[in-house]
Every structure is written in structure tokens, then in C-alpha cells.
């Protein structure tokens, strides 16, 4: 009823192959963007922006990055945390070495450093697959994290061993550092995420994305129809590490403000892998849903007892959060093993035929 495609005629091929063929989808997207750009910054308090929305955007972007590799191309990676670290350290080095160039340029360009490192560690992917590739990327994780600790050049020989975000401006407004308001940083993160999502969406719906999926579904068949495996796999590694690198730079520069090497540990890689799996492999909207479920849900669960007027010890709340979050993750995986994105798809299908299911 609400979600009806009857009467929506396509008059061109371009309209027919559009990413959002339904008018309802386009309206929905516009509403989401309106909420993100206008409603949230106006209504959300500082906690909401700083501790919920900005990290959500960062993790969504990282999840999109990993989804390219794992979801679309079928290459399991456990090195996401480290690739985010490469982006963050690259951005720190570039921005401290050339402070005159705008920080936003460096945030985006640092993705290319991560991209190069990603391609390097992606080389074995031609020979090894599945769990074995996961182990190879695990090696990348440990090696890069070792570099973050052991190469003092990377953190400018700071005695604290951490990278600290300097204050930088854009058109006279602080965009990084302590003086930057959460609203400014939220907008920047939002714009970067939207642009990259748009590019990725075009990429995965085009020839490149199809070759990724062909490799994922059966690489021998893909090879037989003329897809060059090494190039495709390396391209997947490159795109994926570029995006995770940007996400890492955003994490430090727009969210945390300073980071030790430990911020990019193996747990970070796992968290993002879980986001991709629970959100839905091979789905952009799934990356956002997965990030929301894994990152935002514990915050809600943690805040819940206090808002009901219950006073529970901080540690007990933490234990409860682990229990409830874990239980909910398992619950969602049982009702829909293909992830939240699949749940969204089924819901859409039901709405299309409602109220006359057949």
C-alpha cells in the first residue's frame, strides 16, 4: 500500500537500472539525509554527537571498507584495525609535516597510504583463500601494530608514544582539535561518509563491483569469463584499505583527538568484522545497520537502567551490557542469519505487497 510500485513507469534504461528504482526509496533516502543534516545537529546534545553519532559514522565507513573486501569480494580480512591505524598515522605524519595544507585534504589523502599498504598485504590473496587469507591479514595486523609502537618516527618521537591531533581550521572554523565543536566535526564526518558511500555505491553497481562479486561467488568461473583475478583482488584490497584508512584518520582526527597504538588492536578488527557480518555481507545499508547494532546498542543498554531510575553499580551495568548485547546479537543472527540488511529487504518486500500478501 505505502510501498507500491504500480504506476511508476520507467521510460529509459538509465531509470530502470538506477540504484533506487522505487520512488518510495528515493523519498526515504531524502528523509534520512534531511534527518542527518538538519534534524540531528539541531536536536542532539553534545553527548549524542560526540559519543554516539561521530563514532557511528566512523565505524560505518570502516564497515563499508571491510564489506568491499569481505562482503563483495569474499576475502576475509582480520587487519581492518591496522589499516585504520595506517590511515591515522599517515594523516598525523602528513599533517604535522605540512601544516599549511588543509587537514581535510590529508584525511582523504592518507587513505592512499593505507591503500598502498593494503595492496602489499593483499598480494598473497591470489594464492591463499578463506581462513588462510585471514591468517595472512592477521600477520598484517600484528606487523603494523608493532610498527606503530616500535617506529618512533611514526609518532614524531613523542615521549607519550601517542599521536595527538593538532588544532586545524577550515575557513576560520576549527575542524580538529579541542576547540572544534562536535557539530562541525559531525558535519565533516557526515559529508565524507556520504561522498564515499556514493562512490562505493556506484562502484559496486558497475562493472568493477560485478567482477568483485564474480570472484566471490566462484573465482575459477570468474577467471574463465575473462576476469583477471590478481588485478580484481588487488583492486578490492586497494579500495577497501583506502576506505578503512580514511575511517581511521577520521577516528583519530574527528573523534578521539589522540590515540595510542592500542586503539588499532585486533579487537578493533574483530568489532568491524562483526559489524559487517551482522549488518549483512555485501550490502552498503548493512554496514550502517551493523555499525548501529554493535556500537550504539551497548550505549543504549548502558543508559537504560539510569533512565528508569534504577541505581546499579557501574561494573554491574557493564556486565549486563555484555550479556544483553551478546544475547541480542545471537537473537538477530538466529532470526536472520544473512544479517540486518536481509531483514530490511524482507520487510521491504512485505510492504510492497501489503495488505494483499500472496
Amino acid at each position: 500500500m505505502l510501498y507500491r510500485e504500480a504506476g511508476q513507469y520507467k521510460t529509459s534504461y538509465a531509470a530502470d537500472v538506477g540504484v533506487f528504482p522505487l520512488r518510495e526509496d528515493r523519498i526515504g533516502l531524502a528523509v534520512v539525509l534531511l534527518i542527518a543534516f538538519v534534524v540531528l545537529p539541531l536536536t542532539a546534545n553534545e553527548f549524542m554527537l560526540q559519543a554516539v553519532l561521530i563514532p557511528f559514522l566512523v565505524f560505518s565507513l570502516a564497515a563499508i571498507g571491510l564489506n568491499i573486501l569481505t562482503g563483495y569480494t569474499g576475502l576475509v580480512s582480520l587487519g581492518t584495525g591496522a589499516f585504520m591505524g595506517v590511515g591515522a598515522y599517515a594523516c598525523y605524519k602528513l599533517s604535522t609535516a605540512f601544516p599549511a595544507i588543509n587537514i581535510l585534504v590529508w584525511i582523504v589523502l592518507s587513505g592512499f597510504v593505507s591503500c598502498a599498504v593494503g595492496v602489499l598485504f593483499g598480494l598473497p590473496s591470489l594464492r591463499i583463500k578463506g581462513f588462510y587469507l585471514a591468517v595472512a591479514t592477521l600477520a598484517a595486523q600484528f606487523f603494523l601494530q608493532w610498527c606503530f609502537v616500535r617506529l618512533p618516527w611514526l609518532y614524531n618521537y613523542n615521549p607519550s608514544g601517542a599521536i595527538e591531533v593538532p588544532s586545524r581550521t577550515l575557513f576560520g572554523i576549527h575542524v580538529t582539535g579541542a576547540s572544534a565543536t562536535p557539530t562541525t566535526r559531525y558535519y565533516i564526518a557526515l559529508i565524507i561518509v556520504i561522498i564515499i558511500t556514493w562512490i562505493v555505491s556506484n562502484l559496486v553497481h558497475g562493472r568493477v563491483g560485478r567482477s568483485f562479486m564474480a570472484v566471490r561467488d566462484m573465482d575459477i568461473a570468474a577467471q574463465l569469463i575473462g576476469i583477471r583475478l590478481l588485478r580484481t583482488k588487488l583492486l578490492a584490497f586497494a579500495v577497501s584499505s583506502f576506505i578503512t584508512g580514511v575511517a581511521g584518520a577520521m577516528m583519530v582526527f574527528l573523534w578521539l583527538g589522540a590515540a595510542e597504538a592500542d586503539a588499532f588492536n585486533i579487537n578493533q578488527s574483530f568489532v568491524i568484522l562483526f559489524m559487517v557480518i551482522i549488518g549483512g555481507l555485501g550490502s552498503l545499508i548493512g554496514s550502517f545497520l551493523g555499525a548501529a547494532l554493535i556500537y550504539i546498542m551497548p550505549i543504549i543498554v548502558r543508559a537504560a537502567p539510569e533512565s528508569f531510575g534504577l541505581t546499579i553499580g557501574a561494573a554491574t551495568v557493564e556486565h549486563l551490557t555484555y550479556l544483553i548485547t551478546g544475547a541480542l546479537i545471537i537473537f538477530f543472527l538466529i532470526v536472520e542469519p544473512l544479517g540486518l540488511a536481509r531483514l530490511w529487504q524482507i520487510g521491504k518486500q512485505k510492504l510492497r505487497v501489503w495488505p494483499f500478501p500472496y
Binding site: 609502537v149 615521549p159 607519550s160 579541542a178 583527538g257 543504549i300 533512565s307 537473537f331
Partner: protein
């Protein structure tokens, strides 16, 4: 069916967001958030500290009705020693106007350092965090009394020198340094390098990666090969009991094994009888035999208001928490005196911290006579650089075995100054200090 149930679950979880509004803060109290970690890999150290901090502030509320007639609103936020969660805690407590923040993690302290001046919330990182933040001229909002890690390192070196009969006798000795291979453990490295050149001893490094804290056989194999005359440890969490156990296994002479101030009784007890003789730095009592601890026992523990097991009250790290809370309370009290207000703000407490002067008479009034030494902070010195002593494990408790050892201030101070300057340069434009100095005393 499946879709319906999952949609219901989704709706239920999102509905909870509507309630997630922080409760309003009562007007006639000062809000002190405590960042604690009773969960996670460092809980073994964190629980004692959390209990000590919490219980002392509760005791002040119960015994004196707060500070200067104003109740202290204490609220714990669980960080799990995780930087991201710590920052979430910071954002959660910020709207409630905290008078200060105690991050209890170097990782959480570092991102908060530039924010403190913007948010007007002072940070008390007690003997951890960024050493250079001792320089109040550069870091007006950060305080790290009573010692920096460089002070601590120089005190251990001085203690070793006293065993050998003077600093000049260190020439040709081998001193091992086993440390957590993270910012904290690496901080003393340039200082160690400088000292080894000046004093002529040979430094042997044994880094322990954070992921390998509980597996140190490789490092101790090297110790067995190198046979250093002394070993200094900078560890935390599970690294410490593991190192002590490995030292016992390696038959390393325990009285030559000296740690910075973070091990607890349990860390040494776990290694059994062999751990006897293990030494560590400290600056306060590690028994319950002080009036202040007796009061905590009377008003809080016996009244069932503490989460701490009774036998742990008065142990080293519990008392560390008590000491930290004493600094919080005294800073608030000083702020009340300086401003004449009863309900103080973060800006007032920053002045209170700079004017902090806990002399022997005040310690006696606090019930801390003999518990710790006096401490005085100033606008330029946010640390105090207090002397510490060495205590030794006798198999059941730590016993004080040395006099108070002053740090090698003439060597530490230039390092701090240079480091603070470098920090300000690297983080340019670093705001210059605009906060006026009271200079009350």
C-alpha cells in the same frame, strides 16, 4: 513471524533511547565522577583503586556531611581501561558539571589534555598520564602529583646506587629494564639512556608487548643470559604477577628486582614464597593502621556501603585510591577557601589544585599522619616531585625498607621542560596560559 519478532525487538531497543537522558544534578552538591575499571584485563588492579576512591569520598559524606557542608555526589563510570569507553564516560559526565576528572588510564588522559582547557574541567592524573603535564605554565588544567614516571625512575636508580654505595659505583654495572611496550613503559627510555651514559652503567632492555603480558618466558630467558645486577619494572595489570612469577622461576635474586609503584599485594602473593624480597616504590602506607582507614572501615565498610572485601581495605592499591580521593577532597576544600563559595565549579577546583598545600598539620587532621608525606603544588609545578620510599614483600605484606628518596630533580626538570615545550610546539597552535595565578601561600 520471524520478521515480526525481530522488528519488535528492534523497536524495543530503539524505544529505550528515548529514556537515555541523563538525570539532572542536584544543585547543592559537588559532582565528582570516578572513572573506574572493575571489568577487563586490568580489573585486577582497578578494583582496589575504585574501592579506595569510592570509599574515602563516601566516608567524607557519612562522617562530615561532605566537604565544607556540601555533599559530594559520587558517580562511577566503567571504562574497562578502554580509551573509547573512557571518552564516552567523559561525554556522559560532562553535562553534569564535574569539578574534576580522574581518568585512571594514560590512554584516556591523552585525548582529554587539550579538551580540559576548553571544557573547563581540570584533570587529576595521579602519578600517570603525560609526565610533561607537571609543567603548569604549559598545562594549566592538568595535574599529576605526586611524582612523574621520570621522578620514579630516578628514585629507583638512587636506591640502587645507595645499595652499591653511591652513584659513582654504578659504573660497569648492568641494569635491566623490563617494561610494558606501550607509551607508559617507553617513556623512561630516553632518561635511562641519558643516565646510563652519565653514570656509566649498562642498560639492558626487556620490552613486553601488551598482547604478550602473560607470556614473558622470552624476556626472562634473556635475563638469565644477561644476568643484570638489578632489574627495574614498569608494568601494569597482568604483566606484573607474570613478571614476578617468571623472576622466581629464573631464580633471579628478588631483592634486586625493583618496580615502579603499581604492583599490588596479590601480584607478589601469586608467585608464592619465592617472591619474598621483591621491592617496589610507594609514597603512602600499605596497612589499615591509620586513623583515616579506621574511619573508612567504621563509616563505610562496616556499614555495608563498600563493595570492597573487608580484608582488602588498607592494602597498597586500595590506599592509593584513598590517597587519590584525599587529593580530590582537599582540592575541593581549598577551592572553597579560595573562592568563598560552597558549591564550587571546575574552574574553582583548578585554582584549588594549584593552591593545594597539605602540610604535616593538615595530614594529622586528615588522620593521615605517617600515612604519606606533605605535598604542595603551585601554578608552575603541578606535580610536587615528592620523595618516595622503597617497600619490600615479606611473604604476606609490604614492609618499608628505605628512607624517603628524593628524585634527581636536576636531571628530571630539564627533561620535563623540554618535553612540555616540544608538546606545545607539536600541537601548535597550543593555547598560551591565560589563567591567572592566585599564589595564595
Amino acid at each position: 513471524m520471524k520478521l515480526k519478532t525481530s522488528l519488535l525487538a528492534l523497536a524495543a531497543t530503539t524505544a529505550l533511547t528515548a529514556f537515555a537522558v541523563p538525570a539532572a544534578q542536584a544543585e547543592d552538591s559537588v559532582f565528582v565522577p570516578l572513572f573506574t575499571y572493575r571489568t577487563g584485563p586490568f580489573a585486577g588492579s582497578g578494583i582496589f583503586i575504585a574501592d579506595g576512591m569510592h570509599d574515602y569520598l563516601t566516608m567524607l559524606n557519612e562522617r562530615d556531611g561532605g566537604i565544607g557542608g556540601v555533599k559530594i555526589a559520587v558517580e562511577e563510570c566503567e571504562t574497562g581501561y578502554d580509551t573509547k569507553k573512557g571518552l564516552e564516560c567523559y561525554e556522559a559526565v560532562k553535562p553534569k558539571n564535574p569539578v574534576m576528572v580522574n581518568p585512571w588510564s594514560t590512554g584516556i588522559t591523552l585525548p582529554l589534555i587539550p579538551r580540559a582547557a576548553v571544557d573547563k574541567i581540570p584533570i587529576l592524573s595521579m602519578a600517570y598520564g603525560l609526565s610533561a603535564s607537571a609543567q603548569g605554565d604549559t598545562f594549566p588544567w592538568i595535574f599529576n602529583p605526586p611524582d612523574t614516571y621520570w621522578d620514579g625512575f630516578s628514585q629507583i636508580i638512587k636506591f640502587i646506587a645507595a645499595q652499591e654505595g653511591g652513584l659513582d659505583k654504578l659504573k660497569g654495572k648492568k641494569i635491566g629494564y623490563i617494561y610494558l611496550d606501550a607509551g607508559y613503559g617507553r617513556e623512561p627510555l630516553p632518561f635511562l639512556d641519558q643516565l646510563s651514559k652519565e653514570l656509566g652503567f649498562e642498560a639492558k632492555l626487556y620490552p613486553v608487548p601488551a598482547a604478550e603480558m602473560q607470556n614473558q618466558s622470552a624476556q626472562w630467558l634473556n635475563v638469565r643470559r644477561d644476568r643484570p645486577n638489578y632489574i627495574i619494572m614498569y608494568g601494569w595489570g597482568a604483566m606484573q604477577p607474570t613478571a614476578i612469577k617468571e623472576a622466581v622461576k629464573t631464580n633471579y635474586p628478588m631483592d634486586k628486582f625493583i618496580s615502579i609503584w603499581w604492583p599490588s599485594e596479590d601480584d607478589a602473593r601469586g608467585a608464592g614464597d619465592g617472591a619474598k624480597g621483591f621491592k617496589m616504590l610507594n609514597w603512602h602506607g600499605s596497612t589499615p593502621d591509620f586513623p583515616v582507614i579506621k574511619d573508612v572501615q567504621k563509616y563505610v565498610v562496616d556499614a555495608g556501603k563498600s563493595q570492597s572485601p573487608k580484608e582488602k581495605v588498607g592494602t597498597t592499591l586500595y590506599n592509593r585510591g584513598v590517597y587519590n580521593s584525599m587529593l580530590i577532597a582537599e582540592a575541593i576544600r581549598t577551592a572553597q577557601q579560595v573562592t568563598g563559595k560552597k558549591v564550587v565549579t571546575g574552574e574553582d577546583v583548578r585554582r584549588g589544585l594549584e593552591d593545594l598545600n597539605i602540610d604535616a598539620a593538615r595530614l594529622k587532621a586528615l588522620g593521615m599522619e605517617g600515612f604519606t608525606g606533605p605535598i604542595k603544588l603551585s601554578c608552575s609545578d603541578h606535580n610536587g616531585h615528592r620523595p618516595t620510599f622503597v617497600q619490600q614483600w615479606d611473604g604476606s605484606k609490604y614492609v618499608k625498607v628505605s628512607d624517603w628518596i628524593e628524585p634527581l630533580s636536576d636531571k628530571v626538570r630539564p627533561l620535563l621542560q623540554a618535553d612540555a615545550k616540544a608538546y606545545a610546539e607539536k600541537n601548535a597552535p597550543w593555547p598560551a596560559r591565560t589563567e591567572a595565578c592566585d599564589a595564595r601561600s
